[in-house]
């Protein structure tokens, strides 16, 4: 089947999509957007997190056909047009929140949505918002630092 939807603001189309295929597969294998990662394909790890009509979801659990006509934002959509990193991305770099980096795209999408919804999150809010994203390297402390840093910088910028 053919599936058409908006990805990071631009209309995209994929042909010969298998009916049981996930949005994650379509993004990575058909649209050349490998930023969203595939680690578990069962909703446990969050490395495939994207926004569907603004809402963070595991793209491995969304059927491609369900996305017809809708809007998807992936990690590739976070940076500016000229490639300059977003506040959350820069904070992850500066805080040393990236080790192997496999979990990073999912965490960035989740953290970005948190700060949009709640610009001054408590530590509890951050933990809750990131509770669906697993990291096997960092021990999470640097990731929490990065989100706090991004929040502080967002506030300064206002």
């Amino acid at each position: 089947m053919r599936v058409t939807f908006t990805v990071n603001g631009a209309p995209q189309e994929a042909d010969d999509v298998w009916e049981g295929e996930s949005l994650l597969y379509v993004l990575r294998e058909r649209m050349g957007l490998p930023g969203s990662k595939n680690a578990c394909e069962q909703g446990e790890c969050g490395s495939c997190t994207v926004r569907l009509d603004g809402v963070p979801v595991c793209s491995c659990l969304v059927a491609a056909g369900q996305v017809q006509g809708r809007e998807v934002v992936t990690v590739e959509g976070l940076a500016g047009e000229g490639g300059e990193l977003s506040t959350v991305q820069q904070a992850f770099v500066d805080a040393g929140a990236v080790q192997c980096g496999f979990c990073t795209p999912g965490l960035l999408v989740a953290a970005d949505e948190l700060l949009e919804r709640n610009p001054e999150p408590s530590d509890g809010d951050i933990r809750e918002a990131l509770s669906g994203n697993l990291c096997r390297c960092t021990g999470y402390e640097k990731i929490l630092d990065a989100v706090r840093l991004a929040a502080a910088r967002t506030e300064e910028a206002v």
Binding site: S22, Q42, G43, V62, A63, G65, G132
Partner: protein, 301 residues
């Protein structure tokens, strides 16, 4: 495989009538796992995402009609006052990403004994609105669970909504697992006081082939509260009553040993959850310790 994308509820019912073996897909958080792992290859997937009314809820009189696909996140945000038990249970499901997609219709469709909505639905009381081209039935929640992952739906039926009684008293939900997020319940317990009817209802999860009520415990507690005039006096609950209630809840379960826990641990944990949730709800009914109760209603015990 064919992907059916009905644009309206009537089209969805017609598609289900034409293809009774079609697998409905709402949030996909159960269905897609099975497809990704090749555990299921349905001939037809029936997408429900385009049917707007499944994502809506209405509060009218003393009931809430909750659309089958209202995601858990919305229940937590908007229905905490009307459906406190279900809102607490929703908050313990998986992770934000899963709660943004999954909902009660899917939980009922899967009908896993470990589904977190079930103890809250059983305790709160309500009916499942099952619809087909033949018509609409309201299935009492007590009659909905038929076996391990089996429910009372006919092959041509879809769940339109659940009709839930608006809370008339305090409700609680408690779940045992290894951490706060992303945990399938080792066992779970829901409790609702219904002061208007002077009854108490319960729900037990993950401790029998289906979600069940602990009816003997409910009847014992309601009688004890009546006899001592506690519904009116809002007096202190005698510890012996709480203990007996906990024992009866524990005895109602029929758990098994599995990777998540042993049967005897589950029985023990259910007794502890029954005693605690009774303590919290009763104190809330008495109108005391409000601040502490607010703390306790945060996720999850």
């Amino acid at each position: 495989m064919e992907f059916l994308r009905p644009a309206s509820w009537e089209e969805a019912l017609a598609a289900k009538a034409e293809h009774p073996s079609a697998v409905p897909i709402a949030g996909g958080t159960d269905v897609m796992v099975e497809i990704n792992f090749d555990h299921r290859r349905p001939e037809h997937l029936l997408d429900l995402n385009r049917i707007a009314e499944l994502q809506e809820w209405e509060v009218a009189g003393d009931t809430v009609r909750l659309g089958a696909s209202v995601p858990y996140t919305k229940i937590m945000e908007h229905l905490r006052a009307e459906l406190p038990g279900l809102a607490l249970a929703s908050h313990t499901v998986a992770s934000p990403q899963i709660r943004n997609r999954g909902g009660v219709g899917g939980n009922l469709g899967t009908a896993s004994p470990a589904g977190d909505a079930h103890p809250a639905l059983l305790a709160g009381g309500g009916e499942v609105e099952a619809v087909s081209v033949r018509g609409t039935r309201l299935i009492p929640i007590d009659d909905f669970y038929k076996g391990v992952k089996r429910n009372a739906l006919e092959p041509d039926e879809l769940i339109r909504a659940v009709h839930l009684k608006k809370a008339t008293g305090p409700q609680q939900f408690s779940k045992v697992g290894t951490r706060n997020a992303m945990v399938i319940a080792v066992c779970a317990f829901g409790l609702a006081l219904h002061p208007d009817a002077r009854t108490v209802r319960t729900g037990i999860g993950s401790a029998a082939p289906t979600p069940i009520r602990a009816t003997t415990a409910e009847e014992f507690l309601a009688a004890a509260l009546d006899e001592a005039g506690l519904w009116e006096s809002r007096g202190v609950l005698p510890p012996a009553v709480a203990r007996q209630f906990a024992d009866l809840v524990s005895g109602a379960a029929n758990p098994i040993d599995d990777v998540r826990g042993t049967a005897s641990y589950r029985r023990h944990a259910l007794g502890v959850m029954a005693r605690r949730t009774l303590g919290w709800t009763w104190e809330q009914y008495r109108g005391t310790e409000q601040d502490e109760l607010d703390d306790r209603s945060k996720p999850c015990a």
